[in-house]
Symmetry: D2
Subunit: 222 residues, 4 copies
């Protein structure tokens, strides 16, 4: 069994928690509160914006052969940001001057710190799991959501053939990186596989709960 | 008014929340549950361990004159880890195989990501605020805690003259860095000043609540 | 006077040495030996390949507003590599399995080390000077080279309106970064301005001399 | 055969060139010109100063078990700098305001770029080879130099039991890192093994020749 399949099997209970999250179910069923979805939009816009430097930071550490694909992902993410801005304008959500929630801020730091302090194969694991989680999550939503929903363009974006192809590419390359390394690094890759899935779960929790910052709930901004 | 004083004044309501945290008050008053303090010990041990590479990562970016002081801080932190191990053995707390809580993991990622992606003056701001918060926090505990408390050696460590001298050195150098830069970087330094204080608050929240991982409460580890 | 203009004036004697290099003059006059130019092609191909991760490494440290322009530069460099491959095929130069010369290897390390250890404004200075040197250098060649020369497509590439626009953009942004910082960082930017120009000079020296590795001249590869 | 032994065998002709360098022979035989040695002192002082951030930059990427040893190396290098200053004062060599030669600057960039863009095992290879080269080089000098030579304290420093122990530790750990990884990374480690040895050779060449900057020989500083 290849590395990715093996890991997805190993962390199945955690992965199921991610995919069965109430945020996804309620979005699929059309019962999600507008403000809840709007909060996710605001936070995820900041997250996508931060994913660009994460991928850029991977490039100098990886093989020359990966550069073209990673380089193409950057304008892809810029286009994703445009989708957010278009939807935000369409439904009246403000994307400017939004402060990242605790979990969002933390997840972005995790991406960046991984890119700088971990080996390429380890940091590439983080990239794969983050993208794979989005693909699988939005596939859950796709099976049931009303095509007329104002949120449907997001579903379409992350369940498109193009995105599936990107995730498939990452999976194949990550399997290759895992095959060519030794047991010590593969063990660290497995740990990061799980930790990234945990951050994904925390992200949906944050999206559903509208979490602010621990210890600052109900406090006027200083 | 110098930069540090100015910022501490600006974020005073947030700083007061840090210093007035129930974790500190209960430790001072001797009413803290042993398991609550033990949880803090386990998590903070991991945090101090991670502070070593954070400081090391600052060194290549800073002025030559800062290297000796930062270099000396590394064995200082190794000694701090020994204090944790000594106390843990004395009171029967297990420090091995502890998993970082969400907030702890996040805070460490924030330190590392700051060291790599921010300017030296910005990352130095993060270092100062983290150390200053510990000094001020444990000074709160010092005024009231029973000197016979098994936790007193921690109080002693972070309220010692040596630690006060280190924090004073950082403050003076940070003021100097702020003076010699322009308004754009100073603004980013001010933002990181506040964000670091927010992470400190989140850390006490985590210590007091025994928080695990969002969305995984009550779940058997996968 | 803006920063870039000021620096170009300050290092004028060095800059003139770069622009008046025999490699450029001989290429312009059509007297350059085919093997000398072929050697430059082989080495510069490796250099352009390495410039991609350099620019990628700048992205996480810079302002959000710079990301789109830097991100677009990456496919631009991929296209430049294609130009090398097309020319190499046309004139029978082998680009594979070429070992970087000492100076080439060194210059690439300088780019990368700057991206990681220097502030964004400092590392951006390195990027600007490297690009500006290429624009100015190939403009020297343009004024005189036979349009039918097999090397003309390179001249065209780095003297095009598109490339001029990119260099102009970098200059304007670097001037802005210099304006908004303090004297200490501006001094470090000025030093890197000069050091980068020195590396450019060393690069033309290497191109013209066919230099290998110090102390290994005439030795069979180990 | 372990990795280090294997590589030292593989690059033997190159390694012999390093150890048989005229700079070392002349220092051993007492025939070296004072100015030549003084030039080396000035340049190597800058190099040792730059080795401190190189080692610091390795720390966040390596295993926790390596941190104490790497952390102790930092004050060790500070002590080495003191030896330079003491000798410089004793023999009247000026260490301040020295500009790094081209090769020296390049080697430092190579160290830093390796620490940031290569895997830990790869960057650790660079550290080992640089230290091993110094140990072996100065052992050549030790066998023959007059103990009363003013340069003897340098010989003593890099042929001491303490330094031999450090090099032995690095060798053992590097062998372990090579054992636990896969063939792709081991291949990259072998390449860096050789490249570092090439930089060592270039460094002795620079020391012996008093090299300045390519293309700037005989030019007044701009």
């Amino acid at each position: 069994m290849n590395f990715c399949e093996q890991q997805l099997t190993r962390i199945r209970p955690l992965w199921d928690r991610v995919l069965d999250h109430r945020f996804l179910r309620e979005t699929r069923d059309g019962t999600i509160a507008r403000d809840t979805f709007a909060n996710w939009m605001q936070q995820d816009y900041l997250f996508v914006e931060a994913a660009i430097p994460f991928i850029a930071a991977l490039m100098p550490k990886g093989p020359v052969e990966h550069r073209a694909a990673l380089g193409r992902a950057l304008p892809g993410l810029e286009k994703e940001l445009e989708l957010f801005r278009e939807r935000a304008a369409a439904v009246g959500v403000e994307l400017r001057d939004v402060r990242p929630s605790f979990t969002n801020h933390a997840y972005v730091q995790f991406l960046l710190a991984s890119a700088y302090t971990k080996s390429y194969a380890e940091a590439f694991t983080v990239l794969y799991v983050a993208e794979k989680a989005y693909y699988d999550s939005w596939m859950v939503v796709r099976h049931g959501i009303d095509r007329e929903s104002v949120w449907f363009p997001f579903v379409e974006n992350w369940t498109s053939d193009a995105f599936a192809g990107w995730v498939g590419y990452l999976q194949q390359e990550l399997d290759g990186l895992a095959d060519s390394t030794g047991p010590a690094e593969r063990q660290r890759m497995a740990e990061l596989f799980e930790i990234t899935a945990r951050y994904e779960l925390a992200f949906w929790e944050m999206a559903a709960s509208g979490e602010g910052w621990p210890g600052l709930e109900g406090v006027v901004e200083c």
